[in-house]
């Protein structure tokens, strides 16, 4: 899998941001420190990414924001993926009445407009720190994953090797955990990455709407602060470009990893890789 350049690049970017989130605040300086000598300054040697209207260093904020955004993203992904597994796998594996109930629930959450729903709930719930935000995002963002897992578990559970192990006498518990689940790791990891981007984006969206606790620093709150202070109308582009770019990078990285994983699991996609096509053409022309 690591042979694919897509996976390698994607994983490097993700690792970078995870490290940034963990160690960043140690090296990044104080994001809340106001340098009244430098207000709304463009990038310079002193402030590589410039400063905000309050004289805060944008680089320090971006680094601190990594922690806020990644925390919500990862937490939301963990919650969403867990629910997806708990709902999707039993539905697909057991079928019947269990499936009818769980599948209905999944479809319901699938057709519900997630963002407005999150907004409404978050609007009622006062004082929304990162944990509450992650919880809400996770609670409403599992349905797509559950649907995929259900379909996969359904087809796996009727595969001959599961039936065969059942005939040998394996109990359901082992069939689910040792026969079915290991085949879903690819899907689950893709889902987790997907959930993480979704979480980061949703957090940014919510922060932008002013739903999250504005005291905490994340890329979303940075963009929101910029918007609030009319950074666009005043040309302070360095304020809102870095956090958005970071989100885009993480999203790209996760998509790249998923792309690579797809190529590994789907040989048809692998055959369509440029390296294969180019090599084929070279041999044909030789």
């Amino acid at each position: 899998m690591l042979k694919s350049w897509k996976v390698r690049i994607g994983l490097s970017i993700l690792t970078f941001f995870v490290l940034l989130a963990v160690f960043g605040p140690v090296v990044g300086g104080d994001p809340r420190a106001n340098d009244i000598q430098a207000i709304s300054q463009a990038p310079s040697f002193q402030h590589l990414f410039g400063t905000t209207q309050f004289g805060q260093d944008v680089l320090a904020q971006t680094i601190a924001g990594a922690r806020g955004s990644m925390l919500v993203g990862i937490l939301a992904a963990v919650i969403g993926t867990l629910i997806a597994i708990l709902v999707g796998v039993p539905a697909g594996y057991f079928g019947g009445a269990v499936d009818n109930g769980l599948n209905f629930l999944t479809n319901l959450f699938l057709v519900m407009p997630v963002l407005p729903l999150i907004l409404i709930v978050a609007g009622y719930v006062q004082g929304t720190g990162p944990f509450v935000i992650a919880l809400i995002i996770g609670l409403f963002g599992w349905s797509g994953g559950a649907r995929t897992l259900r379909a996969q578990a359904l087809s796996l559970s009727s595969r001959d090797f599961v039936l065969a192990m059942r005939m040998v006498g394996e109990p359901h518990r082992r069939l689910i955990f040792c026969e079915v689940l290991p085949h879903l790791t690819g899907w689950i990891s893709a889902m987790f990455l997907h959930g993480m981007i979704g979480g980061v984006m949703a957090e940014a969206g919510l922060a932008f709407l002013g739903i999250t606790d504005s005291g905490s620093i994340s890329w979303g709150t940075m963009i929101q602060a910029a918007q609030q202070q009319s950074a666009v109308l005043r040309g302070l582009w360095w304020w809102f470009v870095p956090p958005g770019l970071c989100i885009a990078l993480i999203g790209t990285a996760a998509t790249l990893v998923n792309f690579g994983v797809d190529e590994v699991s789907n040989p048809k996609l692998r055959m369509a890789r440029r390296s294969v096509v180019v090599r084929t053409r070279k041999v044909a022309e030789a």
Partner: protein, 341 residues
């Protein structure tokens, strides 16, 4: 039309099942809308009444009080009674009264905002889908070519960019730096509203940037999905046979490969269409575009609960309706649905 009808009657079992589901989902949405304020701590209806009285400086009329209680909870009635009241209220199209814009009913505000959103997000969703799908087919058909090698990673990046951020950037570049487009709003407020050429022009002028940003950040997702489906479909036997038949490459690409590769994408498109109403919430906010999204934003900012509830209910029902329509269309697109359904 006749064939459409026969097809639909033959496949009614599948559709009936879907219809049943959407009815249940609609019931669930209404139930959720009913329960949410009642599950929250405190008594939202009293809070709303107080807020109304504070804003308007006068006593809330008895009629309005009843309507608010029906929607947000009545501490004096049991839950079943409340639900009955709530449904009666809804059946009259009464979504309550906006706190901020007292005494304008929520329903009126929603109806005003709806056309703006439908226009902006509807056209852009369709456009993004069309562009993304078309490019995706080409990239998938020529998989491994230089075009594919450039287009695909680039759109991977595009599809990962938060679209409200793209909106901010666009606003900064085109609105602020270049000054080509207005900085906010959906029309020129100085012009009289109506079907005049100048007014239509101003709508277009205000709409072009939000529309462009939505298309720009949305088509990448369609492209990627369609590309991978096309790559997979191209290796199907029926595409191989179509090539063996000596059909023109264009025909093989569209009638055989793309036509089949599109089916899964189409389901996603249906969902996106459903999302139109709730749609580009954040983009609308960035551009202060007078649509549903902006309405919801204002409601949230000012804790205008009746407005939040009303907009949410509308968005949900629209999504359900769009999904149902999409299922109908899908039945026509895929003749096998009957066999499976």
């Amino acid at each position: 039309m006749l064939t459409v009808l026969t097809v639909l009657t033959v496949r009614w079992a599948f559709l009936a099942r879907r219809l049943g589901f959407y009815l249940a989902a609609a019931a669930a949405a209404i139930g959720l809308n009913f329960l949410l304020p009642r599950l929250m701590p405190g008594d939202p209806s009293s809070a709303i009444v107080e807020e109304l009285e504070r804003v308007s400086g006068q006593q809330v009329p008895a009629e309005t009080l009843l309507s608010i209680r029906a929607i947000f909870g009545n501490p004096h009635a049991n839950l079943a009674q409340q639900f009955a009241d709530y449904l009666r209220q809804l059946s009259h199209g009464d979504l309550g009264v906006s706190v901020v814009n007292f005494p304008v009913p929520v329903a009126d505000l929603v109806w005003q905002a709806l056309p703006w959103t439908l226009l902006l997000v509807g056209t852009t969703t369709v456009t993004a889908f069309a562009i993304g799908t078309l490019l995706g087919v080409v990239a998938g058909w020529k998989a491994g070519s230089r075009l594919d090698a450039i287009l695909t990673p680039f759109t991977t990046f595009l599809s990962s960019v938060p679209y409200f951020w793209v909106a901010l950037l666009a606003l900064w570049v085109f609105g602020f730096v270049l000054g080509w487009t207005p900085l906010s709003g959906g029309y020129d407020a100085d012009l009289p509203q109506g079907f005049s050429l100048a007014y239509a022009g101003s709508v277009l002028h205000h709409g072009v940037l939000p529309a462009a940003t939505i298309v720009f950040s949305a088509f990448g997702g369609w492209l990627l999905g369609m590309r991978n489906m096309t790559v997979t479909t191209v290796r199907e036997d029926y595409v191989l046979l179509a090539q063996a038949k000596g059909l023109s490459p264009r025909r093989v690409m569209f009638r055989y490969a793309a036509r089949n590769a599109m089916l899964p994408s189409f389901t996603g498109f249906a969902m996106a269409l459903g999302g139109v109403v709730g749609g580009a919430l954040l983009t609308e906010i960035v551009f202060s575009y007078p649509g549903i999204g902006y309405l919801l934003y204002e409601a949230l900012q000012k804790r205008d609960y009746p407005m939040m509830q009303g907009v949410f209910l509308l968005i949900t029902l629209a999504v359900l309706l769009a999904n149902l329509v999409a299922d109908l269309a899908y039945v026509l697109l895929d003749p096998r649905i009957r066999a499976r359904g």
